[in-house]
Every structure is written in structure tokens, then in C-alpha cells.
């Protein structure tokens, strides 16, 4: 069953996440998500990988680490080891606003229905829902609210700039 929500709909996940502990290392083919340290160590080799390459930022690894690589990256994953660790929200906002990053920003890890709306507003457009949860249920979380007060990555205008004059 699909666990990935992308641009508001369930879809198949073509990406494989390579964690530093993966014994077999990087597969020869396919779309892969690698850790920041893997990317930094093997950047040149990875540019020749037969498939797309994305980098995963963990809490404590800021987007600035990828500032020079953004044009080469079709996707940046942001890991939530625990959903209560909210650093990833600021990272996504920075990627969208400070760096004007246009690629996919995917939330991975402890990704659950009740955080999706906030994540989406911060600039995430893909959500790899935690394996034990029903992603079709989780999808509802994107529609919790029709009203927002603040500017966000979707609408740069806070509510006081959206009102008719």
C-alpha cells in the first residue's frame, strides 16, 4: 500500500532511502535518498549515479550545508526522528524562502496526520507517512483548516495583506 503523499495525493514511492547503516551500500540503480554525510563524502561519485539522488537532512543539519548543491538536487528529504522535534519546520521554510528551492521537500520518519498541515504550510510537498499508519487517512490532515493567519511557504502574504483594501 502506498505510504507516500505527494502534492495532495497518494502515490507510489520510487525512492529508496539509504541510511548510513545500510550494509550493502548504495545500489547501482534507482532513485536514492542519501544522508548528508554520504553526500558530502561521495558527491562527485553520486553525480554519476544511475538514477536520481536526493539528500536527507537530520535535525541539527541545516539547509546551509546544501546551499551550493541545491541546483543539483531534485529532492531534499527532512527527517523527523520524533514528530515532536520541530527543527525540520524551520529548515523547510528556509529552503523555500531564503534559498527559493523549487524541488520536492519530503518529510520522512515520524510523519503523522496531525502534523501534515503545518508541514505543508512550511513548504513540504511530500510526506512519507510512518509505515504503521494508514496514509489515506493521514491525507485528511492536509485539510484541517481553511483559515491561516500567518504568511507561509504557500502564500507569502499574512492575513492582513490578503484582506481586500
Amino acid at each position: 500500500m502506498a505510504q507516500l503523499i505527494k502534492d495532495g495525493a497518494l502515490c507510489e514511492n520510487s525512492w529508496i532511502r539509504i541510511t548510513p547503516e545500510d550494509a550493502e551500500g548504495i545500489p547501482a540503480n534507482g532513485d536514492i535518498i542519501v544522508s548528508l554525510s554520504c553526500w558530502q563524502e561521495q558527491k562527485d561519485a553520486l553525480k554519476d549515479h544511475n538514477g536520481k539522488v536526493a539528500v536527507c537532512l537530520s535535525p541539527g543539519q541545516e539547509p546551509a550545508e546544501l546551499a551550493d548543491d541545491l541546483a543539483d538536487l531534485p529532492m531534499i528529504a527532512i527527517d523527523f526522528p520524533m514528530f515532536a522535534d520541530g527543527r525540520g519546520y524551520s529548515y523547510a521554510r528556509e529552503l523555500r524562502t531564503r534559498y527559493a528551492y523549487q524541488g520536492e521537500i519530503r518529510a520522512v520518519g515520524d510523519v503523522l496526520q496531525d502534523q501534515l498541515f503545518y508541514m505543508w504550510r512550511c513548504g513540504f510537498n511530500a510526506f512519507d507517512i510512518r509505515a504503521d499508519k494508514d496514509a489515506s487517512e493521514a491525507l485528511k490532515g492536509l485539510n484541517d483548516f481553511t483559515v491561516t493567519y500567518q504568511a507561509d511557504a504557500r502564500d507569502p502574504r499574512p492575513i492582513y495583506r490578503r484582506q481586500p483594501a
Binding site: A84, S90, D114, T148, Q150, A151
Partner: protein
């Protein structure tokens, strides 16, 4: 039922405070639906306890010792009479007939059933109230001076800025999962700190620059809790239109760099201290530079809309000290005492601001019953433009009372038990719910407050002692603000027994100062004795009508220590 009780809800009310637009109401309704669904999923076993926990906390719902506790937000402490009636209705329908004013100016219900909470929230939403972000690791209710708008000393009305902060912080997507709770307070009075901004994560001091323009001095890194400290100024003069940009910059720095692996080090104060104020300011300035002049910049129109949301009530043109008041003052000693203790000067001539003390001996400090709430709502309508405030000292305020009606109001309040003339006096004790209710508490606080109040029942003596703040917290979380009590009492657990640690010299008035620890802690039945001894020594040591805190600051801890523990070797 609530529709019958509250026809047209707030029509005709809320003239003097922010009125919800359609979108504000829609947001609240959507929140109720969301929380109803979350609670149902939890009850159905689809949401694990640890997944539901932060969700319910962000809606003010704690699971307490005997029942859940629901904390309802009272933004910057302001309410209109229909809202009071709704609180009374909730007390009757879903609780045990009373509620509690917290030190964040919020209202707490101690006995709701979990499955009823969505219905309670729906009832609250019908009068523009909610429990959003009253707990959890997010931005909490913004607080201010309970005399905002009527305080003759303020240089601006803080409430429009509080409302702007409320909207900016409500469901701010970036700051819902902060390292720890985050509290903001706004103060507009120079040289005094009625909002306690010095002990907030962010304190906003409204100031005037040399050109007489209004701006904000931003403090960061204050807080009570386990490691109490006062904040430091990080922004000297932030222009009004940049207020939210600056706050967002501070929050982003905190969200990225706050400590997350140790909840006792997770408040902003720890990183401000650890990296140093200058480094923290540098990081903030870097974020601010990007946000400044971006869309978050407040528009003139929006600032004006907020100012217009808090107009002065339609005061009558009256003189101070009218004949009716003078007569009442000279004929009733009890009224006169109450007048001098519980009412204060007002911006508008002919009016006074009245504090309703929720501190009658034998009652839990800050508790109020459904019947009292209903009558207070009527009194607010009759005497104070239908408006009421809560205070961080757990009292209530009718801010706009005609002086010639004070005697009538006093009589009504007196028969309700809300006119105890002890405002700011020793028995006006601030106390958290403590171990009687709270599952976090190490010790009880309510019986300690009561024991102390019983020792000081002689009103003449109390008035002779003058202003003296006693604050009691049942644990390190410091909900009773014990660090800033002139006498602070903290419940601690020692091998399963309740002990109490005493601090002296804290203050939260002109400046915020953290109290000094006196020495070894005491058993519960010793605390009132110790307080009595401390007070007796103060009376011996004071010069003329010197206040306790001034005597303490003059003589220091030693004489008190020696009196309590005996001479040092």
C-alpha cells in the same frame, strides 16, 4: 442549550475589545472539529497515547491526578460578560461548579471528562473563546498589565499589540513543536513591570525614543521554572511595523538551536545564557534582516484596525471624589478600607479600577464558583461596560467603575465574598493548584496558603504590614511564581514526604528579581510558623512604614536566617 442561554452570542457586547471576524470564528470552529476528530481517534485506539499527548496539550488538556484539567485561554486577560456566563455554564454542566484563575491570566477547569472536552470547546467557540496553545511546547497566551487601557502611567495601549501577537502565534506552522513552552508578555508602563516581562521567554517593553516615536524594546531569556533568571535586552528599539518580524526571527533562532534532549535545559533562557546575549542577538539580527520589510511587516491599516479594536469606553464626564463617594468613605470604615486597598486610580476622572480579590480565607486562591461568575457578569454589565479582566495574581478586575457607584458595587461584591480588602497584602496569596490536583506537583500548595491566611486574620495587622507578596508553587515548574514572591514557598519531595523551601526577596513589580534561598526546607506544619517569624522580624527591623521587600533589600538574608535557624556557628 448554549444557544438558548446566549442568544446572538456576543451581539451588543465586545464593544471595547477585539471582535472576531468571520475568519477568526471559522478558524475556531475548524479547530473544534479537528480536536473532536483527534480525541475520537485516540478513544478508538487509532492514535497512541504518546501521539495524542502533544495534541491535547496544545489544546490545554492535561491529564491530572483525578481528572483531566482544561485550561482555557483568556487572551491578555480580557473577557466580556457573555464569556463569563459561558464559563459559569461550563462549571455547572461539565465541572463541579467552580473554576480557577491561573497565573497566566487563564481559566482552568479541574474536573471535565475527556470525552466531553470537544463539547466544551464548541461551547467556548460560540463566545469566541478557546483553549488553543494554553499548554504544550508552543507559544502560549500573551499576557499584559491587567490595567491596560486604564493605567494612567502607560505610554501606549498594549492590547492591540497583544492581539497581533495572538494571531501571529495561533497555529503558527513553524513554531508548533518548539523545544519547550514559550511565553510572551507585553508591558507599556515605564519603570514598572506589571506584566513581569523580565521573567518571560520574550518580554516586549513599549518605549518612546528621543523623537517621541513608539517602539519596542525586546527582552529575551527570562523565565521561572527550574533555573529562574531574568531576561536581557536583545533589541533596543524595534519599530512597530517590525514587531512580528522580530519575534519571528527570535523564534526561528530558538526553534533551530534550543536544546531538545534535556527538557530542563530547553527553555530559551538556557541558550541565551550558553551562547551569550551577543551571539544570540547576532543570530536573531541575521534572521530579522531577511524578514524585515518582507510581507510579515505590519501594514498601517492592520495596526490601525487593531488600535480601533480597543476603543476607550463611552465614559461620562465626571469629577473625581464625588459627594456620594466622600460620604460613603466617611460613613463606612469597611468600605473605606476596601476603597484604599482594592481600587486604584484611573486614566479617566471620576472612575476607578476595582480588583475583585479571589483570596478569602478558606477558599482556594484564584477559585471562583459558577454563581459568583454569573453575578460578576451582571456587575460587569451594570458597572463596568460589560468587561472584566483576570490578573496574574489570580484576581479579577472591573476596570471602569464610576466613583459614585463604588459603594453599591462594594456592597454587591461583599455579599459575594469578593471584596476581601487584602489586595497585595500578605493574605492575597498566589498559589498553583498543587498536589491536590496536579500530577506534576511534589507537594500541596492550597493547605499551606490556607494555614498562612489563618495566622493573619486580623485586618488591622495585615494593613499595618502593608504590601507583601507570598507565592506558593507545588513544584519546580513554578506555576505559583514562587521565585518572584517577597516570600516564596516551593514544595519539594524528600523521600516521599512533602517539604517546603523558602525564598526571600523575590519581586515582580518595579523590576523582576529572583528570590534568595533561605536554607534547609520545612515540613508542611512548620511553614505558617516560619512565615509568622519572618514577618515578626520584619516588623522589628523596619524603619517607619518601610515595606517588607525594602527592609529585606536593606538588611539582607542574614538576620532572617539567624532568626529561623539560630545563630550560625
Amino acid at each position: 442549550m448554549s444557544d438558548r442561554l446566549f442568544p446572538n452570542k456576543l451581539a451588543g457586547y465586545l464593544e471595547y475589545m477585539y471582535v472576531y471576524q468571520d475568519y477568526d470564528q471559522r478558524l475556531l470552529d475548524e479547530r473544534v472539529a479537528q480536536f473532536r476528530d483527534q480525541t475520537q481517534r485516540y478513544l478508538d485506539g487509532k492514535l497512541a497515547e504518546e501521539e495524542y499527548r502533544p495534541l491535547r496539550l496544545q489544546n490545554g488538556l492535561y491529564v491530572q491526578r483525578y481528572a483531566p484539567m482544561l485550561r482555557v485561554a483568556v487572551p491578555y486577560g480580557m473577557m466580556a460578560s457573555p464569556q463569563l456566563r459561558m464559563l459559569a455554564h461550563i462549571c455547572r454542566t461539565w465541572d463541579k461548579g467552580y473554576c480557577h484563575v491561573s497565573t497566566r491570566q487563564n481559566i482552568q477547569f479541574n474536573w471535565p471528562e475527556l470525552q466531553d472536552v470537544p463539547d466544551i470547546l464548541e461551547a467556548l467557540a460560540s463566545v469566541q473563546m478557546h483553549a488553543i496553545q494554553t499548554s504544550g511546547n508552543c507559544i502560549r497566551n500573551t499576557t499584559t498589565d491587567e490595567f491596560a487601557g486604564v493605567n494612567a502611567k502607560e505610554i501606549d495601549d498594549p492590547r492591540p499589540w497583544c492581539e497581533l501577537i495572538r494571531q501571529w502565534s495561533t497555529f503558527n506552522p513553524e513554531f508548533a513543536y518548539l523545544p519547550r513552552k514559550f511565553k510572551i508578555a507585553v508591558n507599556a508602563v515605564p519603570d514598572e513591570d506589571p506584566a513581569l516581562i523580565g521573567v518571560h521567554d520574550i518580554g516586549v517593553q513599549i518605549v518612546k525614543n528621543a523623537q517621541d516615536e513608539t517602539g519596542f524594546q525586546i527582552w529575551a531569556g527570562g523565565g521561572l521554572g527550574r533555573t529562574p533568571m531574568t531576561g536581557e535586552v536583545i533589541g533596543e528599539f524595534v519599530e512597530p511595523r517590525y514587531l512580528l518580524a522580530y519575534l519571528e526571527a527570535v523564534l526561528r533562532v530558538y526553534n533551530k538551536y534550543g536544546i531538545r534532549d534535556n527538557k530542563y535545559k530547553a527553555r530559551i533562557k538556557i541558550i541565551v545564557k550558553a551562547m551569550g546575549r551577543d551571539k544570540f542577538r547576532e543570530l536573531t539580527e541575521r534572521e530579522f534582516a531577511e524578514l524585515k520589510d518582507g510581507p510579515i511587516t505590519l501594514t498601517e491599516q492592520e495596526m490601525e484596525r487593531m488600535r480601533a479594536s480597543f476603543p476607550a469606553p463611552s465614559y461620562s464626564s465626571l469629577k473625581d471624589l464625588p459627594e456620594a463617594l466622600e460620604q460613603a468613605l466617611s460613613s463606612s470604615k469597611a468600605f473605606s478600607r476596601w476603597y484604599h486597598t482594592n481600587t486604584r486610580a484611573h486614566k479617566q476622572s471620576g472612575y476607578r479600577a476595582v480588583t475583585l480579590t479571589l483570596k478569602k480565607t478558606g477558599r482556594v486562591p484564584g477559585d471562583i464558583t459558577d454563581e459568583q461568575l454569573d453575578v460578576v457578569a451582571d456587575l460587569a454589565d451594570r458597572y463596568s461596560f460589560g468587561e472584566l479582566r483576570t490578573t496574574h495574581q489570580q484576581n479579577m478586575v472591573l476596570a471602569d467603575v464610576r466613583q459614585d457607584e463604588l459603594f453599591d458595587l462594594w456592597q454587591a461584591l461583599d455579599s459575594l465574598g469578593l471584596a476581601t480588602p487584602n489586595l497585595k497584602l500578605l493574605t492575597d496569596i498566589v498559589a498553583c493548584p498543587g498536589g491536590d490536583y496536579c500530577s506534576l506537583a511534589n507537594a500541596k500548595s492550597i493547605p499551606i496558603a490556607e494555614a498562612i491566611q489563618h495566622r493573619f486574620e486580623d485586618m488591622d495587622y495585615l494593613h499595618d504590614l502593608g504590601e507583601l507578596d507570598i507565592n506558593i508553587s507545588g513544584c519546580m515548574n513554578a506555576c505559583g511564581h514562587h521565585h518572584i514572591g517577597h516570600i516564596g514557598i516551593l514544595g519539594v519531595d524528600k523521600k516521599g514526604r512533602e517539604y517546603y523551601q523558602i525564598t526571600l526577596g523575590g519581586r515582580g513589580d518595579k523590576v523582576s528579581r529572583i528570590g534568595d534561598k533561605m536554607g534547609p526546607s520545612f515540613e508542611s506544619d512548620e511553614v505558617a510558623d516560619v512565615v509568622e517569624k519572618i514577618v515578626k522580624l520584619y516588623v522589628e527591623l523596619r524603619h517607619d512604614d518601610e515595606l517588607f521587600i525594602d527592609t529585606y533589600e536593606r538588611v539582607g538574608m542574614e538576620p532572617f536566617k539567624e532568626r529561623i535557624y539560630g545563630p550560625a556557628n
